[in-house]
């Protein structure tokens, strides 16, 4: 019994020591593991930089490749847009790319705001950026790299650039309805019905009551109410010089560069 008790006390002590030892080993192991992971990550980053340098041209020239590279960066916690040191700038000399794209996008938003009520289809921004031979824009931005290097700009690039403007202020946002995306530069709420009308008018940039009735199967009242709302939000313009009244949506198409 006595032995048992002594064993008990000593055992407790030993157990405690053992636990401490395990804790120590565990924590040093964790530390090691962490350090090794950190090391791996550093190696990975280094490789990423090498990779970026090596494929610089491809990253610059191919929007799809650029987007994939971007996703890779973000998945390991290197955000080229947020990183203060300017990852893109250091590695690719492209630090200004998104900044300049953002400036160009905001220029388009401001130039068309009076017409489209501050809502513009993402595809329309892309169209206008693609046709950047428009005098007004080229003149002002000719020394910028976007034009100089003739990067092909993807939807992904546009969204990233808009996210960058959002850092500066909340006035720019991307709104999506279904798979249709808009850039909104004037605050306002689009209802479900309004966005449906815009979505089905996307191809032509205008619609009519008859077209809406055919595609949406709504009652006349519901259609008229939605159109009235869009007119009042300054997102629609009427055109009475056709066979029937046309409702145009400058957010979807505006001949800024024709």
């Amino acid at each position: 019994m006595l032995r048992g008790k002594a064993l008990g006390l000593a055992g407790l002590r030993r157990e405690q020591e053992a636990r401490q030892a395990i804790d120590f080993i565990a924590s040093s192991f964790r530390k090691e593991l962490y350090e090794s992971l950190q090391k791996q990550l550093d190696v990975f980053r280094e490789n990423l930089v090498l990779f970026a340098r090596k494929y610089r041209k491809k990253i610059e020239n191919e929007p799809e490749f650029r987007a994939q590279f971007h996703r890779l960066c973000i998945s390991i916690g290197v955000d080229p847009l947020v990183s203060k040191k300017g990852f893109w700038e250091e590695v690719l000399g492209m630090g200004d790319f998104y900044y300049e794209l953002a400036v160009k996008i905001s220029e388009i938003c401001i130039a068309t705001r009076d017409i489209n009520g501050g809502l513009i289809l993402l595809d329309e921004i892309k169209r206008l950026l693609d046709n950047h031979n428009d005098e007004k824009f080229t003149k002002r931005t000719s020394k910028r790299i976007i034009l100089r290097n003739r990067y092909e700009i993807s939807r992904d690039d546009i969204e990233r650039a808009v996210q960058r403007i959002q850092v500066l202020g909340k006035s720019y946002s991307i709104v999506s309805f279904g798979n249709i995306r808009y850039i909104q530069s004037v605050p306002g709420e689009l209802s479900h019905d309004h966005s449906c009308v815009l979505s089905v008018s996307k191809e032509q940039g205008f619609t009519t009551e008859r077209k809406l009735a055919a595609s949406l199967k709504w009652s006349k009242e519901r259609i008229l109410l939605a159109l009235k709302g869009l007119l009042e939000m300054e997102l629609a313009w009427i055109d009475d010089q056709d066979l029937e009244r046309l409702y145009w949506f400058p957010s979807l198409y505006y001949p800024i560069d024709d």
């Binding site: 017409i115 009042e232 313009w237 009427i238 046309l246 505006y254």
Partner: protein, 177 residues
Amino acid sequence: MTVFRYPPFYSYPPSFTLQPVKATREKQLKLWCDLVLSYCKHYKIFKLSVTDSANSSLFANTAIDRKLSLAAVEEVFSRLVSMGYGEWLNKEANVCLIYWRRPYEWAEIIYDWVERSGKRKSILTFYEIRFSEDTAEFEFHGIDPELLLRSLQVLESQGKCAVFEGKTNDDLGVKFR
């Protein structure tokens, strides 16, 4: 003379229908006023008739088969006048002076020319100011006589000249001080 380049809204069909929502209509009228002013400046037009211009390419784009109605054109003109960029010359005939430069601006330009060309203390007829070779390269060459009179009246009120009566507009004379 180079061909005038119309702004984007001129190719946008609904621009030619007066908009029912006030905020949109305000922006629309502003676009049309800006167009009238830049168009007149480009072609050096000093006055426009509502009815004639309503049928001209200024307010009608045949490429998209759209035309601003006479009522809408009248609204554009009255907007120009209310903003100080135009003045009715003959309300019945609907003729309007278009001020792509306002009379006080023309006054400054003309007086600048008078000083630089040593015409102070001399007497000139309106015809000389408008059509003489001396003024050929100046923006006011060919200026409308009514507009010239208004501009010289600005100078007169500043004591910089005196306008003399004449039988016709071109007989009018002016002595610069």
